[in-house]
Amino acid sequence: MTKNVDALIIGGGPAGLAAAISLKKNGIDNILIVEREDCLGGILLQCIHNGFGLHRFKEELTGPEYAEKYIEMLEGTTIETMTNTCAIEIVNEENSKTVYLMSEKSGLIEAKTKVVILAMGCRERNRGNIAIPGTRPAGVMTAGLAQKLVNRYGYMPGKEVVILGSGDIGLIMARRMTWEGAKVKAVVELQPYPGGLNRNIAQCLNDYNIPLYLSHTITAIRGNSRITEVDIAPINEYKEPKKEDTFTLKCDSLLLSVGLLPENELSQLAGVNLDRVTGGPLIDTNYMTNISGVFACGNVLHVHDLVDWVSEESEAAGKAAADYIRNQTIQKNKIAVRVGNLVRYALPTVLEPGKPGILSLRVIAPAENTTLYVKADDEIIYKKGHKKIFPSEMQRIEIKEVPQKAKMIHVYLE
């Protein structure tokens, strides 16, 4: 079966939905969203907690509510959606792209499109990646998988839980498991500062007196069929565990919240160049990758902490994609964005002189009483003081106009 569309969006989560709506708003009609799950909404559907939409909708919503508000915007439009459909390959051609789709309903589909928007989101780092010593019993899983089991299927993976990693998913699951009757014995964090939002430390750990062990790591997992206990040890300045201070906690479940990785297998296969720091595609100011007509937005581009910014970013990407479809617009003038030592990454990695730009960035480590600067050559074009700044909070910088004659942009903390 073949299909012909103007824009094919891979992923029907918040990024894909916002990009589609934006494309429509900007005059494109023939849009197809493909989603591998059986309904739209992406990861939001299992995020039944609140904290979404404060910026976008000026109300605090849960994940499913936020997703539904966007899904409703599709009604009445010509945007087509195919669920239970997986994109398996993107082939780049001269003036178009062919995307091979595996659809549960319709079998193999060869879709020809002018533009592809990558909106596949991210996956979780897992136990295998970080090689925790010990056995491989049941009861060890990522926090996201546990969240799906609890919120979508209605099953608890354990009753005595230890959580590794204090990222938001881990903190949210600490509370969720507690609410469903489990005892969460500890959250263990390698860094000297928490990985998730401060508010989640308050409402997920402090509220339930769940201990948070900063600068600690798990040094062994025991149990053959099912996990029975873990060893936890503080770490020294070289991030090596201090064996003599190891203690053991009995548990029947270990949840891992040790990082999210943009899911770019499909992108890489297609020849998209990735940024080694973010794991996402390298893009220009128009969210376009090194392949003309292939755009990226949302968590597949870089991990966000607020879905509101995913929507905003994806709307911008959709607009740029629409512009490309109609006018074959490609960013010609690119000036590099360089980051200073304390900034882990900033994207896009190129800006356009004479045009506005939005920079998203994260710092490497927490800092106090510091200022975030953006310089165009020697001229300071943005400056903001921060009493406290954390790696877990993505910073957004709106630049009204990049100086016309600028040769390089520099982003740094001082």
């Binding site: 907690h49 609140n50 404060l54 849960t62 509510e65 979508r152 430390i201 409402q203 509220d207």
Partner: protein, 120 residues
């Protein structure tokens, strides 16, 4: 008395230093916006939380319906509300915003559905 609390009004999560005398707030610092002192007032004297969970739904394509309280409830009623949620069950269809339980546990908040699930 001094108390350190984290404001949960928005994702910024400012660390607030609150001074109070058990009856009134004397001072609040560390807030980035005016929601901080409002939150501090509530948190010190009558802390509240929004409760989010799932309830069993029959006749839909998935077995669980996500729900939440439409306002925050008093913190000391939180577990009572959770226990009540455990007992609840509905039949499809459910629409986002439907009131599942009015004034749950006399908390002043309604329990509402946060997702639309059709009858299959």
């Amino acid at each position: 008395m001094k108390k350190s609390i984290i404001c949960i009004s928005c994702p910024l999560g400012c660390n607030l230093s609150v001074e109070h005398d058990d009856k009134v707030i004397i001072s609040v610092s560390g807030n980035a916006c005016k929601r901080g002192p409002v939150y501090a007032q509530k948190e010190v004297f009558s802390p509240e939380r929004v409760v989010t969970s799932t309830i069993k739904i029959e006749g839909a394509k998935i077995p669980l319906l996500p729900v939440r309280t439409d306002k925050s409830v008093s913190k000391d009623k939180m577990f009572e509300v959770m226990k009540e949620i455990f007992k609840l069950k509905v039949k499809a269809p459910a629409k986002r915003g439907d009131i599942i339980c009015q004034d749950i546990c006399k908390s002043g908040a309604n329990l509402i559905a946060t997702r639309t699930l059709d009858k299959i």
